[in-house]
């Protein structure tokens, strides 16, 4: 557990970066500090491992004042990941990861063995071990940065905007990877970002900070979206927060209706006969959706339905078959992004099980509200 008790950071020129911060960070979860530039989120993070010294107040790490230890000793027990990874350019990927175990006195061979395991843990192929950081992509570098922070198996991980400098697709991968890692490792992670979407996606709890270094709200992502404490938080959380809040509600109540499907390669006439309201989904042998055909489209086709003739589909909604349950947001997005206005519902293997409509999602939402399942 990490406790901030009335922590203030005031610089010599009088600017206050963090103002009287009280915050308790629970073990085994991801706590995100989020806020606009100048809100003191990075300063707060860096006071935990004393990269910045607090002006007043106390920071306790598992009940012990961080000032009880020498900074270097303290830091060796805390994982640290920064933007652009900060890998050592002169060391191989393997030796970068082996750094902290070596600082802690491990033998080179043992440290490298541990590093090799960690590369696999963060999803990097073993052949990258002998490369140098300059030979890696930004996403790969950031994975190495995470592996390096985990090398000494610290209970606490500090991550300072680790994914800000990579492109959105890679960032999404890295976030998923972090969540997967966390489900296996259960570290206490403090994560700083300026991106509220990232905060809501990965945070178990989110601390929204405002300029001047004050804590505005500290809550779960769902509560933050449903119940912003003031206008600042509401504005920061964003315009379509009502829509995004649906991401925290299970879609188990959404009716999955039958969906007209056509196998790829079916004769055009057979496909036309199956259309429902002018549309049918096209599936492969395994029942996975490939796209859509419409009445208008079929009228210009000859012979059989080919992959090149399909209208591409929208996002998919994983219906609650086999453990995984999609959210209302996924169901609604599937319906809204589909050319036929019908979202394709699939099972956990990706095969089509039916369709969801926007009306069905809204009906399920209304039912959930009546049942008191929606936080308000």
């Amino acid at each position: 557990m990490i406790e901030f008790q009335a922590v203030t950071k005031r610089y010599d020129d009088g600017t206050v970066a963090v103002d009287n911060l009280d915050l308790t960070i629970a073990d085994g979860g991801i706590t995100v500090l989020v806020g606009p530039s100048g809100c003191g989120k990075t300063t707060s993070l860096r006071m935990i491992n004393r990269m910045v010294e607090a002006t007043s107040g106390t920071i306790l790490l598992d009940g012990q004042d961080v000032h009880a230890q020498r900074p270097a000793t303290l830091r060796r027990g805390i994982g640290y990941v920064i933007q652009n990874a900060g890998l050592f350019p002169h060391r191989t990927v393997l030796d970068n990861v082996a750094t902290v175990p070596m600082l802690l006195g491990a033998k080179k061979a043992a440290a490298r063995e541990r590093a090799t395991e960690l590369l696999a843990t963060v999803g990097l192929p073993a052949e990258l071990a002998k490369r140098y950081p300059a030979q890696l992509s930004g996403g790969q570098q950031q994975r190495v940065g995470v592996a390096r922070a985990l090398a000494a198996d610290p209970p606490v991980l500090l991550m300072d905007e680790p994914f800000s400098a990579v492109d959105p697709v890679v960032r999404d991968d890295l976030q998923d990877e972090l969540l997967r890692l966390q489900s296996e490792l259960g570290k206490t992670i403090v994560f700083v970002t300026h991106d509220i979407d990232e905060a809501i996606k990965i945070g178990d709890k989110v601390a929204v900070m405002r300029v001047g270094g004050r804590l505005a709200q500290y809550d779960t992502p769902a509560a933050l979206l449903a119940n912003p404490v003031d206008d600042f938080v509401a504005a920061f959380v964003g315009r379509d927060r009502g829509y995004r809040a649906l991401g925290f509600l299970s879609a188990h109540g959404v009716e999955v209706a039958p969906l007209a499907t056509v196998a790829l390669g079916s004769p055009v006439e057979a496909a036309r006969a199956k259309l429902d309201s002018g549309w049918a989904a096209v599936v492969d042998e395994a029942g996975k959706p490939l796209g859509w055909v419409s009445a208008a489209g079929l009228s210009t086709m000859e012979g059989s339905v080919q992959a090149a003739d399909l209208v591409s589909g929208g996002s998919l909604y994983v219906a609650d078959t086999g453990g995984r349950t999609g959210s209302l947001r996924a169901a609604l997005d599937a319906a809204l992004s589909s050319p036929a206005a019908l979202g394709v519902a699939v099972d956990s293997a990706g095969a089509v099980v039916g369709s969801v409509s926007a009306e069905a999602v809204l009906a399920a939402l209304a039912d959930a509200r009546k049942a008191g399942e929606v936080p308000s």
Partner: protein, 233 residues
């Protein structure tokens, strides 16, 4: 006979490569030149690299380095040498020469080391500190290895300057390859004078090549300019 042929004849004349009857040949002059050059270079390295590294690491005293470098660069080497020999006496002429050559090497080495350490990516240094490296570990394990290309570059540059400047030894009755230049001028034997200059230049080139090879061996492959960029973004 044109000047190139004359110089070539002088350089390839076997008599010039032998020391006979008090007339000193090329190999011995070459040895003297090297003997004048390596101590100041070594002293310069031992003084400038620790100092430059410390200033680069702490970031304090950068302006002092810059002004010091400028002062030293403005020194007239020949004038300084003559002044030192006059005040220290001709018996200490070699020592006086060493002092002048240290003064020649120092600014280049100091500036190179300072810039090399200072220019290491601050994010890398921040990561090193955040991982729990002590300050000396940051300097020795992270900053110096990453500064090595610039530091060794400054060693090469300083070596060239020292070898070139060591020719002024002849002006205070010492030896070295500069002897040929000074004597050739005095006796109007221009092939000897030009031949001496060619030898000094050749020595500088050979030393440069050797130091480049050392640099290739010492600098981490991770810091070499990538010829191909692998890895998929």
């Amino acid at each position: 006979m044109n000047v190139f042929e004359a110089v070539w004849d002088w350089l390839t004349n076997g008599d010039n490569w032998k020391t006979t009857l008090g007339i000193i040949g090329i190999p011995q002059r070459l040895g003297e030149h090297l003997d004048y050059s390596w101590p100041p270079l070594l002293i310069g390295i031992l003084l400038a690299i620790p100092l430059g590294a410390l200033i680069g690491h702490t970031g304090r005293g950068g302006t002092v380095v810059v002004s010091l470098v400028n002062v030293f660069r403005a020194l007239p080497e020949l004038g300084l040498l003559v002044l030192l020999v006059l005040s220290m006496g001709l018996l200490l002429a070699t020592e006086a020469l060493t002092i002048v050559l240290v003064a020649v090497a120092l600014p280049t080495l100091l500036a190179g080391t300072y810039a090399g350490v200072r220019n290491v990516d601050r994010a890398v240094v921040d990561a090193a500190r955040g991982m729990g490296m002590r300050e000396w570990e940051i300097l020795v394990k992270v900053e110096l290895p990453n500064a090595l290309p610039l530091i060794l570059g400054s060693v090469r540059a300083a070596a060239l300057q020292v070898i070139a400047t060591a020719s002024i030894a002849a002006a205070v009755a010492l030896g070295g390859l500069g002897r040929f230049v000074v004597d050739g001028f005095a006796f109007r034997e221009y092939q000897q004078m030009a031949g001496g200059a060619v030898l000094i230049a050749a020595l500088a080139i050979v030393v440069e090549l050797l130091l480049s090879a050392v640099q290739w061996l010492l600098v981490s492959p991770g810091l070499r300019k990538p010829r191909t960029r692998s890895g998929v973004r």
